[in-house]
Amino acid sequence: MEKVASHLHPEGSYDVSAHSAPTGREEIWRFTPLKRLRGLAADATFAPSATATTWNAPDGVRVENVTGDEAKGLRGISGLVPNTLFGARVLAEVSDTLLVDVPAETELDAPVVIDLDGKDAGVVEAAHVALRFGAHSRATVVLNHTGSATMAQVVEVKVGDGAQVSVVSLQDWADDTAHLTHHQAVVGRDASYKHVAISFGGDVVRMDCNVTYDGPGGEVELLGLYFADEGQHIEHRLFADHNAPRTKSHVTYKGALQGKGAHTVWVGNVLIRKVAEGIETYEENRNLVLTDGCTADSVPNLEIETGEIEGAGHASTVGRFDDEQLFYLRSRGIAEDEAHRLVVHGFFNDLIRKINVPELEEKLLATVEGELAKNVLKDAQ
């Protein structure tokens, strides 16, 4: 693969000493409140995990915390070559790996649900997760993060040829959590990969979600839903690297913000390499600002090295409640707070439907409702 001179591509390395701690001036760190990460991005010592990890898996899938050579062999299965210090450190310093292994041609009839419940935000810890989906398998994996933690995490995903895979990562942390995570996936020929990021809780959550292709015809859908409250920083960075022909990427992230100091960041990077003829990409980020004092940054980047493509586009908005929408609903007798509720639910509904994990749908609707109760509907309580 030819090198591309671009800020999207800091040279990666497995060698920890090849990386330095970010200062905050780097393009990829400029939005992140590094101080609140408690050294996760720098050189804080990783202590033994204080997070309780349990899972529920249907027959036919292996879920195990593996160690030794097997764990070593799982580093880099997604093609990840770390371009951050924390990424390199997680691969080098964490000795075990939580593995979800779905054999080729296996079709799971229920999602694999992994609960990661943080017990102590005072413990700085790191984790490596590997999700391996064999060729033509069909599976959904849910990573459900709750509780208090200070966690650096690398999630590597390998989607075999023709597999149909969903990975859902739910950040439903307690208020004191700092979570720095990198999800890297490689998508096989004619495979489809849906990645869903849902971030509600935590003091700081930063997720990098990157995708590359291992052969033509792969389809990727990256969905995200976030809700930042007072003082919260929620950052999602996406990178779809179209390095194979006739691949697709479709990104939809929607977020709402409320309360003083709520800050969300969405950076959507798409690279269409020379070889990637006939690809199609579209990315969309919408932010609904519910109160004063919030900041939503939304930055789409599209780099195109070949014009021989099916289509490429992006859309990005940051806005408040639409007065005309509210007027319309209220002119039908619907009280103001109820109208707000309808509009916010509507804003997220399409996305929640697209996630298409029935087990999660109700929980998400309830979570949105709970978030609204904090501010928008506060006066109505």
């Binding site: 639409d322 007065d323 005309e324 929408q325 007027f327 319309y328 609903l329 209220r330 002119s331 039908r332 007798g333 619907i334 009280a335 103001e336 109820e338 109208a339 309808l342 509009v343 639910h345 509507g346 804003f347 997220f348 509904n349 399409d350």
Partner: protein, 252 residues
Amino acid sequence: MSTLEIKDLHVSVATEDGDKEILKGVTLTIKDGETHAIMGPNGSGKSTLAYSIAGHPKYTVTSGTVKLDGEDVLEMSVDERARAGLFLAMQYPVEVPGVSVSNFLRTAKTAIDGEAPKLRHWVKDVNSTLERLDLDASFGTRSVNEGFSGGEKKRHEIAQLELLNPKVAVLDETDSGLDIDALKIVSEGVNRFAENKDKGVLLITHYTRILRYIKPDFVHVFVAGKVAESGGAELAEALEANGYEKYLTAAV
């Protein structure tokens, strides 16, 4: 009983060059069982009248009164006006993404009635109303006004009129952008509403075409922010023949 009484209504909007008065003293009373047509050229303030009655925040009432059965409408919030019995069918209904028509209708009905409608009757009412307006049964699952054709938007407005069953309906250019079939369907819906006991209709239109299907008891010619002339249905015929020319000349 339902009487909408508008007295000497003056309304302004904020513009870059300061406040601009659009309505310059409108006086109009709509009683039980009456259908009034307001006709006027573009820019005469017809829509401003409709939106001011409904309470759109863009418009500021500087003087005058609007009363519904003696209650001061101008003191009410937008949703209170609707719950008091006013309904505005809009010329440009607004899209509300992700909110289904059926959820919207049920929420509005619950708000208007102060209690949730009985499910069994409600579903039947909604389905038959949609059917009469030639709207497909799957219509309920679509997002409010999103991707609707012009005709679907207007028929959806009239479906709301019939289901929410207000006292007084203000129809703002409901006929615009409709082909003849849709115009008939929409007019029949308005007539069904108007035939109920104690209902008033204020029909705002630029063209006489809709008056072939909805018979007004009174016609008011609206020019330069007020009523220039009032009369019966025959006034509409005169307008059809002669246009607004003579009023416009007079207003200059």
